[in-house]
């Protein structure tokens, strides 16, 4: 066994330069996924049949097919279909947002339905219209309850972002592979990449636990 981390020491900054790409992907996707997921979850509880069926079908398709396939489809098929030359970054964020929205919509729906019906009734009897009470009263309580699940989803997204290396985005994994290919050693750069992912996930977990504590102030 001949491990030699010293040989790739000069390349570590290059691998680290993939971090902003990874984070950009993750947080854009979480943001748009959360918005779309919220909308879909409202469709699901709206009681309006066409909206309900749309949201259910959407979730079913995006959960029922591999993320990698969705990514390839968006990146390679969009130009063929529309003539628009989609960039890898756009394709990645679009796919990841659409995909995580499907998962988040189920989580948010459960969170909303777990909020005591009395909360809605109390706001209604004060004269608060339904959309406003949903935003002010129900969603904040729902989001607090599902925060751990949303953190899980964010962590999954962060790690799955390595998939965009397959369409040519130079993020953490891809830069590690490039280093490996240049120097004909793979073990060391990949270990470094893994370490970076792990540290990012730990950071995320820590931030989330602080956020959760703040949200639990009212208990």
């Amino acid at each position: 066994m001949n491990l030699d981390f010293a040989r790739i020491l000069p390349d570590i900054p290059f691998i680290l330069s993939g971090v902003p790409q990874t984070l950009l992907f993750t947080f854009s996707s979480v943001f748009f996924g959360l918005l779309l997921g919220m909308l879909l979850s409202l469709f699901k509880i709206s009681g309006i049949k066409p909206l309900y069926w749309f949201a259910v079908a959407y979730t079913s398709v995006f959960r029922g097919t591999p993320l990698l396939l969705q990514l390839s489809l968006v990146y390679f098929a969009t130009p063929q279909l529309t003539g628009y030359d989609i960039s890898a970054l756009q394709a990645g964020v679009l796919t990841f947002s659409l995909n995580s929205a499907a998962y988040m919509s189920e989580t948010i729906r459960a969170g909303i339905q777990a909020v005591d019906k009395g909360q809605t009734e109390a706001a209604l009897t004060l004269g608060v219209p339904y959309p406003q009470l949903m935003w002010d009263i129900v969603l904040p309580q729902a989001l607090k309850n599902i925060l751990p699940a949303l953190v899980n989803e964010t962590i999954s997204l962060l790690k799955d972002s390595s998939l965009v290396s397959t369409i040519g985005v130079v993020e953490i994994l891809r830069s590690a592979q490039i280093v490996g290919a240049n120097k004909y050693i793979y073990f060391e750069p990949l270990i470094i990449a893994g370490l970076i992912y792990y540290i990012l996930v730990m950071g995320l977990t820590y931030t989330a636990s602080i956020l959760e504590k703040r949200l639990r102030r009212s208990e």
Partner: protein, 244 residues
């Protein structure tokens, strides 16, 4: 007699095949305190919840200030601003402080400034004796305190009527009294109140009128004196024997 605030006409409510309210007609006058009594399952709460359309009647009409609020064209949110409600389980907003619970609706719906709302909110909390709890979250309050905050919250919209749905049933016996005291004081201010309750003492002492429901029917509508000393229907007699 004062003007009519709430008029209920031929009210029926069914949940599936279960008929909960059966053809109830009555009126509530301005300034009146009406106690709604009856055995459990008699439809008291459903009756109350039909008055602000938390339950939509299967048949019949509900008028508020002579406006038919069962008409689908009516903006029920606007009507509910004048029809406060206090619940058995308080339903305070747990993510808001006590004061924010009270000021939330006035700020959002009346468009008054935060400063002004805060001022009024503190006055209302003082009225129910909880001004020192303004910045505390509801989870830190006892049941009786929660219910007093809920009453302050309902009052913040300056409603014409407050509906009370078993406001003391979820409280331990010691704190029942503090809530009843607040309600008594409220009754003296001349606000219209409809109270579903099992507190016979309160009904007897504070109410101007008793509505006794049995199996979804309005079995008796009389003054407290009459009801408690000479109940007319047999079911009311049985009920009182058990309760008193």
């Amino acid at each position: 007699m004062n003007e009519v605030v709430i008029r209920v006409e031929f009210l029926c409510k069914s949940f599936g095949t279960l008929k909960v309210l059966d053809d109830i007609s009555t009126e509530v006058h301005r300034g009146e305190v009406v106690s709604i009594l009856g055995p459990s399952g008699s439809g008291k709460s459903t009756f109350l919840r039909c008055m602000n359309l938390l339950e939509r009647p299967t048949r019949g009409r509900v008028y508020f200030n002579e406006q038919d609020i069962t008409d689908p064209k009516v903006d029920i949110s606007k009507v509910r601003q004048k029809l406060g409600m206090v619940f058995q389980h308080f339903n305070l907003f747990p993510h808001l402080t006590t004061l924010a619970n009270v000021t939330y609706a006035p700020i959002k719906l009346k468009g008054i400034s935060h400063e002004q709302a805060k001022q009024q909110g503190l006055e209302l909390l003082a009225k129910v004796g909880l001004v020192e709890k303004a910045d505390v979250y509801p989870s830190r309050l006892s049941g009786g305190q929660k219910q007093r905050v809920a009453i302050a919250r309902a009052l913040a919209m300056e409603p014409e009527v407050i509906l009370f749905d078993e406001p003391t049933s979820a409280l331990d016996p010691e704190t029942v009294k503090e809530v009843l005291e607040v309600m008594k004081a409220l009754a003296k201010t001349g606000i219209t109140m409809a109270v579903v309750t099992h507190e016979m003492g309160f009904a007897r002492e504070v109410a101007d009128r008793i509505l006794f429901l049995d199996q979804g029917k309005l079995a008796e509508d009389s003054s407290p004196d009459e009801f408690f000393s000479h109940p007319r229907c047999d079911r009311a007699k049985q009920f009182l024997e058990k309760m008193l």
